[in-house]
């Protein structure tokens, strides 16, 4: 019996887990994990069993749960709602999806990773940075839900000098610090779609929140012939190199902020060697953010810094990529292309490479080149909560941890099969997949006792991240 009650996921015919036997219990998170693994080719059977998910090398999940319980204990629910109002439920099954993705990852990793609780990763940044729910302002403060003439948009002004771009957006001089106020006033007089188009010209993340929220967000599911809102798209571009699957993989982390580094960190927990690569002129901005989060996501990784403005630096980057088994990047496709780094060509040229391309909307989406962050992309997908007064953010940049977790599952599956794959993971697609998996959450009977709404917690921070570039000479010499 194929698992089918949870996530509706599929890919484009690349099946790295072909024939891998997995059994899942009828638990929402285990079913989610089973659907993810089935979409990667695994042979998934259902059985009444404990542990909830059993693969050839590992068995995980010792407690049944529902979306309601998982959302409440994830720490994300506390981050959802207005400051002076109650903590709210989210649409769809984001917490079950996070828990299920971690189940799937643990089964593939074949290691205990017993402390890895997927749902709790949703609240991890808030726990470390002391963030709280603020209704229409994201917990991190970089994104707001703002009314337009015909609905609501999510606008991110994440950088210090975004006020100048607001000026260009609204065609007026905008003083430093006045960006939010002026943008909000302008948006009230324009349609959301037109505002989003104009913001896209300027590279400002701005997206219309679907009016029906989760109910309509996935109405076009199946239009791509896959039968589901897939969280990823795998494309075989080069030959697999099965021999590579047997040695310790080298992961090159070119990504920044949260989703990509989380994916790389999880691969590191599964045993990979992780080398973070940054541009000397433009390091990961998260280094200037919450220090504990940066340390948590990068402790134990080597750090290489290259001057990507110089031919030498770009040549070194290409050498590193040719030595890697996995590349994780989270830039817009054109950013690397402008440096002469073309993911598709590199996967085709280098047998065994897995390229994890994380972006806001996904490489095959018409908005492939639009920027986006975890809060605005989740809102664009309809992954927002609501109360009588309107939409409020669900969790903290929730598309980020959901994407990092899901990308890690497919990346590990590809590595097991020897790579040769471009893995296109749009944060938008991940958020939509979490909304499409409605049945497990919605069909839950109301719990007899309301679940305990837990504060966000973080995994222990194991040490400090390497300073930028401390390993550059050694890593380049060893190649």
């Amino acid at each position: 019996v194929r698992a089918s009650a949870g996530a509706a996921v599929s890919n484009t015919g690349v099946a790295p887990l072909l024939g891998l036997p997995v059994t899942v219990a009828p638990d929402p998170a285990a079913v989610w994990a089973g659907d993810l693994l089935a979409s990667l080719g695994a042979d998934v059977l259902t059985a009444e069993q404990m542990p909830l998910l059993v693969g050839p090398d590992a068995a995980v999940g010792r407690r049944r749960s529902s979306e309601g319980e998982e959302w409440a204990r994830s720490g994300a629910m506390v981050l959802t709602g207005r400051t002076d109002g109650p903590a709210l439920p989210a649409p769809g099954t984001p917490a079950v999806a996070a828990r299920g993705a971690a189940f799937a990852f643990r089964v593939l990793a074949g290691r205990a990773l017993a402390g890895l609780d997927g749902a709790r990763l949703l609240g991890e940044r808030a726990a470390l940075a002391g963030l709280v729910r603020r209704g229409t302002i994201s917990p991190g403060g970089g994104c707001r839900l703002l009314p337009t003439a015909d609905g609501t948009v999510a606008l991110s002004l994440a950088r210090a000098d975004d006020d100048a771009l607001v000026g260009a957006l609204i065609e007026a001089e905008v003083g430093t610090g006045a960006g939010w106020e002026r943008a909000a006033a302008w948006l009230r007089g324009v349609g959301g779609a037109a505002a989003a188009e104009r913001a896209a010209l300027l590279g400002l993340p701005c997206a219309v929140v679907p009016a029906g929220g989760a109910e309509t967000a996935c109405a076009d599911r199946g239009s791509d012939g896959t039968g589901g809102c897939a969280p990823w798209r795998l494309t075989r571009l080069g030959p697999a190199s099965p021999g590579r699957a047997t040695r310790r993989p080298l992961v090159l982390d070119l990504s920044s902020l949260w989703a990509g580094p989380l994916c790389a960190q999880l691969l590191g927990l599964a045993g990979a060697r992780v080398v973070k690569v940054e541009s000397t002129g433009r390091p990961d901005g998260a280094r200037a953010g919450n220090r504990a989060l940066y340390d948590l996501l990068h402790a134990g990784h080597e750090s290489v810094a290259l001057d990507l403005g110089s031919p030498r630096g770009r040549a070194d980057l290409l050498r590193l990529i040719r030595a890697a088994d996995v590349v994780v990047d989270s830039s817009r496709p054109r950013a690397l292309r402008q440096l002469g780094v073309v993911a598709e060509d590199l996967v085709a040229a280098r047998p065994g490479l897995t390229w994890v391309a994380i972006s806001a909307y996904g490489r095959s989406h018409p908005w492939a080149e639009r920027p986006g962050y975890g809060d605005d992309v989740a809102a664009a997908a309809g992954l927002v909560a609501r109360d009588r007064s309107g939409h409020v953010f669900a969790g903290d940049a929730i598309a980020d941890p959901l994407t990092g977790l899901h990308a890690a599952v497919a990346a590990l599956a590809s590595v097991r099969a020897g790579g040769g794959v471009l893995l296109d993971v749009g944060m938008y697609a991940v958020a939509r997949a979490c909304l499409a998996g409605g049945p497990p959450g919605r069909s839950d009977p109301a719990p007899a006792h309301p679940p305990l709404v837990a504060a966000p917690v973080s995994r222990p921070v194991p040490g400090a991240a390497a300073a930028p570039g401390v390993d550059t000479a050694r890593v380049l010499t060893a190649l």
Partner: protein, 105 residues
């Protein structure tokens, strides 16, 4: 034709695909050109008989910001890439450094 450059104004090249938006207007009057011909309003019609000047065909990169060495308060953002060189008159604009990544989202 001289157009006064104002914040948010969208302009296009007459001789290639380049389009820009004015993020920060210059502090004085200046004539922005691309490929040797003045930029015009996004909806305006290109002049007849103009062609890309091979001496000013270095290209304008999508998503990059340019300024003038002589007038650093100017900032234009390329919203559509093209073959022409953005210039003040015949004096090429310079690429501004990429903006730093945000610290969080």
């Amino acid at each position: 034709v001289t157009v006064a450059l104002t914040t948010g104004m969208r302009l296009r090249s007459q001789v290639c695909d380049t389009e820009v938006i004015v993020v920060r207007p210059p502090g004085r009057e200046l004539v922005l050109t691309c490929g040797g011909a003045p930029l015009i309003g996004i909806a305006a019609t290109a002049g007849a008989g103009l062609s890309l000047d091979p001496a000013l065909a270095g290209g304008a990169l999508l998503g990059k910001r340019y300024t003038s060495a002589d007038e650093p308060s100017l900032e234009v953002l390329v919203t559509k890439g093209g073959d022409g060189t953005l210039a003040e008159g015949r004096n090429p604009l310079v690429l501004k450094e990429a903006r730093p990544l945000p610290a969080s989202d």
